[in-house]
Subunit: 475 residues, 2 copies
């Protein structure tokens, strides 16, 4: 092994979170190395958000074009799957990271390609694909940003059945005739939407009582209703007990609890994520391999003043934009500590990842879209807030009706009755993804309801639902 | 003339502003009469926002469908104008106000159909279409909400040339082969977008240097560029000197300064609005007929403690949603004064129309859409603020690129450097109309930039432009 190369900061993992840490530490003048074993840009760029949205946007645009006069007849029939795949391939850079490398160069970060492992305190060992070894030492911080992978449950027959995970579901080049999806969360709901529109007959098998279980219940209900309307089958309360697949290209059979069997041409397992921490040397610094890495509000690991974890791997919020947010916070904290300046780790301070728990936004690109920020009614009540939920039928807002004929949707805001501020909001309906940010600003800004009364939505936008929600709240 | 019928509140004009005053005063338990000479629901419902958006949404949906893969080929060719007109006719209730009447009944307001005129202090005389006369007296308040009409300039030949105004442009049932539009503001830009897509060859004649002169200059520039791309002609710095039209159905000729002539099949005059106050008895209470009616922050007329004016007619902000906002404020003020309770007329108080000047939002449904709130850079500088404008190319935001291939757009936020809050923001691009409300909440809520840093936009939404703007601002 060669002598250690010293950097101010070493980042393990070059997904969006790792990249953003590097961006911030480089901006602060700290020398920074980034270690990546696959593609710089990470899961999001190649096998998650980006390709999934590239697949989904044509579905949503078609759905919206069908809901206006003068166009409806022109956009029936199936999507041109080949054209959509080609578009998706463009957006993933054909699974090459050249563009990201240019950007890394431009900020002056040093890339090490290969598998990185912690190697005791402030040290990282990298093994390149060619078998070369490097030891990096970090003057100020090592940041773990290795993310997650799809968790494939230990079911009889599943491992040998070559199931799709989110990676295959976002990168496949052939439309399966019948697609079985196990799971009910965002990946399951989005991929059901995409593949049903691309021509598969989709069946979604949800163990729980609804799709999108972490959102207000009407979100999953409206999405399930639309999926069903599009020809998919959504079954809730079903549990998969075993999977059978013979040969390498034949159909796959799922055995449900109770013995019922279902056959498909492909099987997507979308039942959760697990941290990519099993082989990154956590044991060399007293942490547990394979586990999530707990951090404080600055994203630093307790008891290790040089070790940070950002993005999925810290399990605070498994969303690209929150990983990037944590990276900005952690980058600022590393820079401040390196400079010996005081940190502001109070709630909403410059060095405190506060939104992760108080104002987590999410946009789900199903048809209809679902977007939410902050606490659901249940979450707010469980957290002990005295709250009131105010609902409004989005389809009754003029701007929504003008946007799409037969608009179906719903909005809810959750108000803290003691402070008279918003704790959360949920919007479901065509175009809902872009409605969330106004609520995010309101929640994060803790803007009082009386002041929101002066925030006038333009007529006739869908955003006018804000007026209806506030009118309802004020009685 | 019959004996006066007494109400707590008499509202002159049943457009959105008048309706909303009535809604608020009825909610406060005040008996309320509404006088309307045309259709309850007003200009907005029949000849402005609603029919214009019914015409425009198919244009925008088509434009967006063309910008996704797998659909582009299916949505070429002209819009089905007949289908779009039928849709527009549905949205205007075929120019009948039955739906509005049901709503008035439901809140218990009393409708007088006919022409209403002030008749001295606290009195309104109504002449019905059948020639009946009523005198209404108002215990607490008379509210003028008679709105505006298109202003047709005094040009040689124009009056006899049967020009379209916003009314004809939003209600026409035939697509003119060539449509000349005089003006550059919202009506001109939106109607150019609609009619060009419906099949007219549109020429827009703008006296000033650009379209949408009240917004940041890039708004009008991007809209003009897109109109030109769609086949329309946009000419700036041209002045119409005369109009010639012979016969009742022939072409119309416009004579420009310098002598050049242009021929069209119809001519839309969209050069501004004038108040509908010339024949409402303003002289009987010492005000000037035909003028705008100045009001204080509670929308009350100075020197007349019983007289209010809301909506276009007070010239604070000629937008439906702001008229409704003023109506909510004025309704609350009338109710508070009637009850003898104290008013809160401080900035952002319950009885002070503050957003009219500080946080006026607007959405323009051109292709691309343009949305803005608060002050432009010029306005902020002229108001004496120490400001910085931060711009970002919306097309460089991943969420925008995924939304529409070749996305063209731009965003600007104007930051008050002394208080570190937003004074205004502008968004231009597909889907931009729904981006405004987040900025409205930020401006109205006076949310500090440091706090906005925690308002994370979801990836990959168009709203992620917020992150780019804030990153740029923070350097």
């Amino acid at each position: 092994m060669t002598e250690a190369v010293e950097y101010d900061v070493v980042v393990l993992g070059g997904g969006p979170a790792g990249e953003n840490v590097a961006d911030r530490t480089r901006a602060a003048g700290l020398s920074t190395a980034l270690v990546e074993s696959e593609l710089v840009g990470g899961e999001c760029s190649y096998w998650a958000c980006v390709p999934s949205k590239a697949l989904l946007r044509p579905v949503l645009a078609r759905s919206e074009a069908r809901r206006v006069p003068g166009l409806a007849g022109a956009v029936q029939g199936p999507l041109d799957a080949e054209a959509v795949f080609a578009h998706r391939d463009e957006w993933t850079g054909h699974w090459k990271d050249d563009g990201q490398l240019d950007w890394l160069d431009s900020i002056g970060a040093h890339l090490y390609r290969g598998h990185g492992r912690l190697y005791g305190i402030r040290k990282v060992a990298v093994t390149s694909p060619e078998g070369e070894h490097h030891v990096l030492s970090a003057r100020h911080a090592v940041v773990v940003a290795t993310g997650t992978r799809a968790m494939v449950p230990d079911l009889p027959g599943l491992a040998g059945a070559r199931p799709w995970t989110s990676r295959e579901a976002t990168s496949a080049r052939r439309v399966p005739g019948r697609l079985l999806i196990v799971g009910g969360s965002v990946v399951a709901a989005e991929m059901a939407t995409a593949w049903q529109a691309l021509g598969s007959r989709v069946t979604v098998l949800v163990r729980g009582s609804r799709l999108l279980p972490r959102m207000e219940s009407f979100a999953g209900e409206l999405v399930a209703e639309a999926l069903t309307g599009a020809g998919a089958v959504v079954r809730t309360g079903v549990s998969v007990e075993a999977v059978v697949r013979d040969g390498s290209t034949g159909p796959v059979t799922v055995v449900l609890e109770g013995g019922e069997t279902l056959e498909g041409d492909e099987l997507l397992i979308a039942t959760g994520r697990e941290p990519r921490t099993d082989d990154i040397g956590l044991d060399t610094v007293g942490l547990t391999p394979g586990g999530w890495i707990g951090v404080d509000e600055s994203c630093r690991v307790d008891g290790h003043d040089w070790l940070y974890a950002v993005g999925d791997v810290n399990h605070r919020a498994l969303l690209t934009h929150q990983g990037k947010y944590q990276a900005r916070i952690a980058g600022a904290a590393i820079a401040a500590r390196a400079a010996g300046t005081e940190l502001d780790t109070a709630r909403w301070g410059a060095h405190a990842a506060t939104a992760d728990t108080a104002a987590l936004p999410q946009a789900v690109f199903t048809d209809p879209e679902a977007g939410a920020v902050g606490l659901t009614l249940d979450e707010a009540e469980r957290a002990g807030h005295r709250v009131r939920a105010v609902d409004h039928d989005l389809g009754k807002v003029s701007g929504a009706g003008l946007y799409a004929e037969g608009y179906r949707g719903r909005a809810r805001m959750v108000v803290d009755l003691d402070r008279e501020v918003l704790l959360g909001a949920t919007f479901v309906g065509p175009g809902a993804a872009e409605l969330v940010h106004a609520a995010t600003v309101a929640v994060v800004g803790e803007v009082p309801i009386d002041r929101l009364w002066h925030a006038v939505p333009s007529f006739p936008t869908i955003s006018e639902v804000w007026l209806r929600l506030l009118e309802t709240y004020r009685g």
